[in-house]
């Protein structure tokens, strides 16, 4: 959005520490409600991979005032839709409903923030459901977990950054009810959360309802957030993963990038660089790798393994490509390095930047137009940046990235400080029996 026409925003903090963002918009009779908790899979303990995501599932399984299944029934029976998702640094829960159901949604979120019902039956049931989710998204399909599960262990060396956020089956099966209780008491404190309410609301009425339902959630200390910093790689790190389902080889190149929060302008230069490299037929890597040299079927460059603005430091810049069997990974890497060199030496043209800027502007407008994505963006920017209004300044900030900034970003993507993950198809006679240690992803609840 242009800064001059910034939509109305209100922020407040309840006595128990819960941060609240209100963004009224009466243009359609629907409301969005989300709660972001400041804990993601980077915070889960060793031996408990996948726990943050498993716990997200459990938060849908009932609370003091709500039997199992009641949460879904009340949201959908009021005409609404819901979901939740687990990210590296946060976990979100959200619903969009006809505006008549606003108080109901606040009640449901408050009840599980205050007193979720954590039972052995629900834990066992949701371990089964999560294992089916992992089979669906990782184990039983080609390129499962590529690159989000497979690249981090090559690029990073510490457990929080390197491990599989979907979880190992063995770890999931060992999760106990006491783990759940400890996780909730530590991380799901109101002071560690952000509530966002958007859409067809009256601000004063919404404030009253929020105080009514969340005001008596008892205060608990906000946990100290550890640093996940680790030094960048000193050299090129390479690993090969054999994929029993993949028909074509693929590769992912991972680089470290500027701190998304404390070096935002450098981070945005990387976003623009990603656009210059791979957004549209006129972009550098599309032209070179797909069309001119015909080395790859598809190529993509981007900031963040789940998209931008999803994580704190350290975050990953990645380039992924699927290519023909007779092309070697080094051919692809050489072409990528040449294109990065060219950009580092000769900054991009004004028109190249204008293209990226206009597409970002349009895509930010489109995100704002979908109430669910608007709600989640405001909540995550409050959580990660302490500034939801930044959502509306992004288009201008991106437009002010210069050609020299992009050249500098390209120069920093060095061949001697990166990870290369190579995916090789196995022979046709694949044995896709279930491995005891699974790969993973996070994702939605439904």
């Amino acid at each position: 959005m242009a800064g001059s026409e910034q939509p109305e925003l209100h922020r407040l903090t309840l006595d128990n520490g819960l941060r609240v963002v209100l963004a009224p918009d009466r243009s359609a009779p629907v409301v969005g409600v989300s709660v972001h908790y400041d804990v993601g899979f980077r915070s889960e303990p060793e031996g408990r991979t996948g726990f943050a995501h498993l716990f997200e599932h459990l938060m849908f399984q009932g609370s003091e005032s709500l039997e199992k299944l009641a949460h879904f029934r009340h949201i959908q029976g009021s005409g609404g839709t819901f979901n939740g998702s687990t990210h590296p640094d946060y976990t979100d829960y959200f619903e969009v409903l006809p505006s008549a159901a606003l108080e109901r949604a606040l009640f449901l979120e408050a009840d599980r923030m205050r007193a979720p019902k954590l039972t052995p039956e629900n834990l066992a049931n949701q371990i089964d459901v999560v294992k089916e989710e992992i089979r669906l998204n990782v184990l039983n399909r080609p390129y499962g977990g590529f690159p989000w599960i497979l690249l981090p262990p090559v690029l990073y060396s510490t457990f929080p950054n390197a491990h599989n956020g979907y979880g190992d089956f063995t770890d999931l099966e060992q999760a106990t009810l006491d783990d759940c209780a400890a996780f909730f008491d530590t991380y799901y404190a109101p002071a560690n959360a952000v509530l966002t309410v958007t859409g067809d609301i009256d601000v004063d009425q919404a404030r009253g309802l929020i105080e009514k339902h969340f005001g008596d959630v008892p205060e608990r200390p906000r946990p100290t957030r550890p640093s996940f910093a680790e030094p960048p790689p000193e050299g090129e790190l390479r690993e090969t993963h054999v994929d029993a389902h993949a028909p074509l080889p693929a590769l992912a190149v991972g680089y470290r990038m500027p701190d998304p929060v404390n070096e935002l302008d450098g981070y945005l230069a990387n976003l623009v660089l990603a656009g210059v490299l791979s957004d549209g037929d006129g972009s550098r890597l599309q032209q070179r790798l797909v069309h001119r040299d015909a080395l790859v079927t598809d190529v993509n460059a981007g900031a963040g393994l789940f998209g931008p603005f999803e994580a704190r430091d350290p975050d990953t810049f990645s380039i992924t490509a699927v290519h023909a069997p007779d092309v070697t990974p080094d051919q692809v890497l050489r072409a990528i390095d040449e294109e990065l060199d060219a950009l580092a030496t000769t900054p991009p043209e004004t028109q190249e930047l204008a293209k990226v800027t206009a597409r970002w502007s349009a895509s930010l407008h489109a995100e704002h137009d979908r109430l669910v994505s608007r709600t989640l963006a405001l909540g995550s920017f409050e959580l990660l940046y302490g500034d939801p209004a930044l959502v509306y300044q992004l288009a201008d900030r991106i437009a002010s990235v210069t050609a020299d900034d992009v050249a500098a970003a390209a120069k920093a993507l060095r061949p001697d400080a990166r990870a290369v993950l190579i995916v090789e198809p196995s022979s046709l006679e694949s044995n896709s029996a279930e491995p005891s240690s699974a790969e993973s992803t996070t994702g939605g609840n439904q």
């Binding site: 109901r104 089916e132 184990l139 209780a181 008491d185 550890p226 028909p247 037929d281 349009a362 704002h368």
Partner: protein
């Protein structure tokens, strides 16, 4: 890292205050009117333009009936869709992308056995450019030889990837099982056909089939509908033909029968895909059937999800939903389940199909799905992109804004008895057929015991 001392799970789950009552629903405002123009312009194209400001964007959805019976049609159509935007007499591939990018725009194409769909978006003030590029590719796409060759190669590689996806394997098997060799089954071309496509065939197909008559263009966004129709009329004036775009021949009715087990050795998870004949949106019994379907598996709080996911943990997601094709419709019931519980999941799914008719949805269940159907339609159409896609699907079967705005009332008028009738009539297990893709070594003996399943050849 977690707190050294913490409460037990039991302590966490209760407060001194005790359980609290669920708040009532408040007052619901209705949606604002959708100012629109729905008209057929001079070249026979139906244009539906809807004003929906909010963000300064426009969404465009062009839908061209694109059926063909020639065995090479699916391959040629796929190459056409992938190369339509790679050059015209005035612009090459990069020029097209550049002009679109500078207006924050995108154009994309998808082809299936029924239609060629061209979707676009742009900043609102870029609409004239978007229409100009669209008109250019519709009237003067040149299909350069090098682009056609390169894209055919890439399609071949993508097809190889797609055909390793279990959901694609299951879809192709279901289509063959339901419809044999009907053109509707040819959703993905054969790689060898794609490799054999020559540029001249693509140019001929464009001339013969990319036609305005029978096609629909939906535009939604920050626009003035009256003015936009004039702009479209002017921009697309050169796109004309006396002939009409080619509509898919009617599909045969799906009749009930054995489920086919499609072997996939070593698979850790199976795909269950059941299907039965259903009703199109224009049938007066459709609203009741829509509600019956939601109770079965059309939303998370459905009988099927609560049974095989939330009670038994057999699946991450189970779902039932309609597939609308021309003037007809089918319903699909899907679940992906671990191999060792697949047969049990199929048994439970059949049980829920039978139970829907015999123990029909209660008044409470009907009220819940009614609210969900009305609310989720409101939510899905509250964004420009969501509204444009919804209207494009409706326009393709001759419906429009009036159907959309009238549907909440039709849902409100459905009685519990009408839902029960629809459930008994259309969800009887005997009306269903389908496929299961999975490890036959484990599944075949169990299915043999269960009955109603035929084991297919490896």
């Amino acid at each position: 890292v977690t707190a050294a001392t913490h409460r037990s799970a039991e302590e966490i789950g209760r407060t001194p205050h005790g359980p609290r009552p669920l708040p009532d629903l408040g007052q619901q405002r209705g949606r604002t009117d959708l100012a629109h123009v729905d008209t057929v312009i001079g070249n026979g194209l139906r244009v539906l333009a809807v004003r929906k400001p909010g963000v300064p964007l426009v969404e465009a959805r062009l839908s061209i009936p694109f059926a063909g019976t020639d065995p090479m049609h699916p391959a040629t159509a796929e190459v056409l869709a992938e190369t339509l935007l790679t050059g015209t007499r005035r612009r090459d591939r990069v020029a097209i992308d550049t002009e679109l990018a500078l207006i924050g725009g995108e154009l994309g194409t998808v082809v299936d056995p029924e239609r060629l769909a061209i979707s676009g978006t742009a900043l609102a003030d870029g609409l004239p450019t978007l229409l100009d590029v669209l008109a250019d590719v519709l009237t003067a796409a040149s299909y350069p030889d090098t682009e056609v060759r390169r894209e055919a190669e890439r399609i071949g590689e993508r097809l190889a990837v797609a055909r390793t996806q279990p959901r694609v394997i299951a879809r192709e098997a279901l289509q063959r099982h339901r419809y044999g060799d009907h053109p509707y089954t040819r959703e993905m071309p054969h790689a060898e056909d794609v490799a054999a496509v020559v540029p001249e065939q693509v140019r001929q197909l464009h001339a013969a089939a990319v036609l305005p008559r029978n096609s629909t263009l939906v535009l939604v966004g920050d626009l003035d509908p009256e003015q936009v129709v004039g702009q479209v009329e002017q921009a697309l004036a050169g796109w004309e033909s006396e002939r009409s775009a080619s509509v898919l021949p009617p599909l045969p009715m799906v009749s009930g029968g054995d489920v086919l087990l499609v072997p996939r050795a070593g698979a850790v998870q199976s795909q269950i895909r059941l299907s039965a004949q259903s009703l199109p949106r224009t049938d007066e019994r459709y609203p009741a059937l829509q509600l019956a379907n939601l109770v079965l598996g059309g939303y998370f709080s459905s009988r099927l999800v609560e049974n095989i996911r939330e009670d038994k943990g057999y699946t991450y997601g189970a779902h039932s939903g309609f597939e609308f094709t021309g003037g007809s419709a089918t319903v699909q019931v899907d679940a992906d389940t671990a191999t060792d519980v697949t047969a049990a999941a199929l048994l439970e799914t059949r049980y829920e199909l039978g139970r829907l008719g015999l123990v029909p949805p209660t008044a409470e269940e009907v009220e819940s799905v009614r609210q969900y159907a009305i609310g989720s339609l409101l939510i899905a159409t509250s964004s420009q992109a969501g509204l444009a896609s919804q209207l494009s699907a409706l326009a393709a079967v001759g419906l429009g804004v009036e159907w959309l705005t009238g549907h909440p009332q039709r849902l409100a008028d459905v009685s519990v008895e009408q839902v029960a009738e629809a459930a008994l009539r259309f969800f009887a297990p005997s009306r269903f057929t389908g496929v299961v893709v999975g490890d036959a070594g484990v599944l075949a003996p169990q299915f043999e015991a269960l009955g109603g399943v035929t084991v297919g050849a490896q």
